[in-house]
């Protein structure tokens, strides 16, 4: 009861006109920087935090919430329209979203992303308010071996969801895993695959690879088609926003995405992109329109976008309850809170209830403001696609390189953009799927580090990997996900064989 009162009190502060204005400025600035490919929410918040220092605590907190959610949101717009993921958590969105945009369904894709983000943000923020203590104890139960099991499950489910050829999917995945080896090994400080180039010691930036493979690879591929490629894209076919069918196909993925994304966001080593992978794999498996996956299935946008936003709220659970920053963004937010004289941690909810509930209320307001601002803009955004192709792709490359230059203006980094762009082009020409490369780069190092941590803690005893109940459950799920489709396929083949036998009779 006290909780609800405090929340209402917080909302009362947040909806004062001046605070609404701060929220508006926050989401606008956040979206503006967030759309830059290669500049994710973490950098966005870091760059814009000083802007908030000029305001009073309540106002700055509200603007800050706006920047955070705006930065999260900006990435999905460019993913859908330009096939240029702004940050790693919106890579999956580009897969189906951009196919939809090319088919004249960009409006529906943007809408389901916006509304899905809103729904997920709303539910997850409320869950943050009421479930934080339980979620956090669940998240802390995850040690290295549990994370390793989670990564195994992710590998199995995700790789089953990409592409139609096992060989080409695996080649893409292993290219990604190889790229993941580059850099200093966290556990021993040894340089791997760096060839003495200092810029490689920190490994390959996920966003650099994603921007290069998606935006630059795609631009090269379209250009190489010459006059055979269609001159312009028809931006809108049918209704601009979502039709009844889109709604019917979107609402369940929104909810499922929220349920997946929130706890994964709360895990100290989770990361928003892991939630989007799981959501995509799940939606593909559950969908009645499997054939549309890879060609623009709305579920593949709705689920991952919801998961992405839910995990953004999930990140705040350990931050507010334990003072535990579980992502780069959260670490910067922690610095921001300290600026307001707030020490996040177990004592925060009791020592500073007004500010905590003010923040939660601000997040709700920022979330609402984003959807109100963005839905009317959908029509304008999709018009971007009517820009003549030579200007459009020139602009895409301007933006793609801008993000990388802004994050790290080094010749080596820009060189990587070029090399990986050419690689993305070559993979497209030979019909290799692109996404598994990025997935391998993200999941590979995580899986390796967690495995080695688990074994170091146990001093080399391998049995610890299966003796924890959570790890055992996750590994069983992974085994089922691997074996069940094989059995089904074998059975299906059996049916086909009997049918063929019957035909030949």
């Amino acid at each position: 009861m006290g909780t609800v009162d405090l929340l209402i009190q917080g909302l009362g502060v947040a909806i004062q006109p001046i605070n609404l204005l701060y929220a508006l400025i926050g989401v606008t600035l956040g979206t503006l920087v967030g759309v830059l490919p290669g500049i994710g929410p973490a950098t966005t918040v870091a760059l814009l935090l000083p802007v908030t220092y000029r305001l009073d605590p309540a106002g700055s907190l509200i603007m800050f919430a706006g920047i955070y959610y705006g930065g999260m949101y900006g990435g999905s717009t460019t993913s859908i329209l330009l096939n240029t993921p702004g940050e790693s958590a919106s890579i999956v969105t580009a897969l189906e979203g951009n196919k939809m945009a090319k088919a004249g369904r960009g409006g529906a894709a943007l809408s389901t992303a916006a509304i899905g983000s809103f729904v997920a943000g709303l539910i997850a923020t409320i869950a943050l308010a009421f479930l934080a203590p339980w979620v956090v104890s669940f998240a802390l139960a995850f040690g290295p071996r549990e994370y390793f099991a989670l990564m195994v499950l992710a590998f199995v489910t995700v790789s089953a969801a990409f592409g139609d050829s096992a060989l080409r999917g695996l080649v893409s995945l292993f290219i990604g895993l190889t790229l993941g080896l580059v850099g200093i090994d966290l556990q021993t400080g040894q340089a791997r695959l760096s060839f003495g180039v200092p810029d490689l010691l920190d490994g390959i930036e996920v966003t650099t690879l994603a921007v290069a493979m998606f935006a630059i690879g795609e631009t090269l591929y379209v250009a190489a088609q010459g006059k055979r490629a269609p001159a312009t894209v028809e931006p809108v076919k049918g209704s601009l926003w979502m039709n009844a069918r889109d709604w019917a196909r979107s609402w369940k993925p929104w909810l499922r995405g929220t349920v997946i994304g929130f706890p994964i966001g709360a895990m100290p080593a989770g990361g928003a992109e892991i939630g989007t992978f799981f959501s995509y794999a799940l939606e593909k498996r559950l969908s009645k329109h499997k054939e549309e996956f890879g060609n623009g299935a709305i579920e593949g946008v709705a689920g991952p976008e919801a998961a992405n936003n839910a995990s953004a709220a999930g990140t705040l659970v350990p931050l507010l309850t334990l003072g535990l920053p579980t992502s780069a963004t959260a670490a910067i937010m922690l610095a921001g809170f300290q600026q307001y004289g707030l020490q996040p941690g177990p004592l925060l909810f009791t020592s500073n209830p007004q500010l905590v509930w003010g923040l939660i209320a601000s997040l709700l307001i920022a979330n609402l403001m984003l959807v109100i601002l963005n839905l009317p803009l959908v029509g304008l955004w999709v018009r971007l696609l009517t820009i003549p192709k030579h200007w459009l792709y020139a602009g895409i490359l301007l933006f793609a390189t801008l993000g990388t230059i802004g994050a790290n203006p080094s010749v080596v980094e820009l060189g990587m953009l070029l090399v990986f762009g050419l690689m993305g082009y070559a993979l497209r020409v030979f019909h290799f799927p692109i996404a598994p490369v990025v997935v391998g780069l993200i999941l590979g190092p995580m899986a390796e580090q967690q495995l080695r941590r688990a074994l170091a803690i146990s001093q080399g005893d391998v049995t610890v990997l299966v003796t924890s109940p959570i790890a055992a459950t996750l590994l069983t799920l992974a085994a089922l996900a691997l074996i069940v489709p094989m059995i089904l396929r074998a059975r299906g083949r059996g049916q086909v064989l009997t049918q063929m036998a019957a035909d030949s009779d």
């Binding site: 000083p50 895993l177 556990q187 250009a223 230059i405 082009y425 080695r452 074994l455």
Partner: protein, 172 residues
């Protein structure tokens, strides 16, 4: 599943490009294994050290390379669209110009040239239009992101001149 033809065309010859891919994978496997062999041993309680996973990946890469050879010889790779080389070269040139010159001539000119060369790849031949347009666009972007939002974007003579114009006279 649907793209794999059930009955392979027996007249299809070994796929040369696919064999090149296989060779690339085998070379990559060799590089990864060679690099792993140079990593010094550090006492590790985990038993699997910094070289274990690279070796595993190298073995898998080699296996995938062999699998690719088999598929290439059987002509299992899907049909490819013919590619035009010139547009690709224009774009690569644009990116090269940008990365090599940006530190000296600043963000706006370097990116403006990239912009024009990409437009050229898509058939826009009028450089006297596309280069100025690209530079003006890049300056606008530079002002918003570098000055307004304190992103680090390299500046050159053009940006410096612009900032001098905008600078209040009193501080001189």
């Amino acid at each position: 599943m649907t793209t794999e033809p059930l009955h392979r065309n027996p007249e299809r010859r070994p796929d040369r490009a696919a064999l090149v891919i296989a060779a690339v994978l085998l070379v990559l496997a060799g590089i990864v294994a060679w690099d792993a062999s140079r990593i010094g041993g550090v006492v590790q309680y985990a038993r699997i050290g910094p070289q274990t996973v690279p070796y595993a990946i190298a073995i898998c890469l080699a296996g995938l390379g062999l699998w690719t050879i088999v598929e290439a010889l059987r002509g299992d790779f899907p049909e490819r669209e013919p590619q035009e080389a010139m547009p690709v070269l224009w774009i690569v040139a644009g990116l090269l110009v940008q990365l090599l010159t940006i530190r000296f001539i600043g963000f706006s000119i370097a990116t403006g040239v990239l912009f024009a060369l990409v437009a050229r790849a898509f058939g826009e031949r009028r450089f006297w239009i596309s280069i100025p347009f690209g530079i003006v666009l890049s300056i606008a972007v530079w002002v918003i992101f570098a000055r307004g939002l304190s992103l680090t974007l390299p500046h050159g003579p053009l940006e410096d001149a612009l900032m001098n114009l905008l600078r209040p006279r009193t501080t001189a």
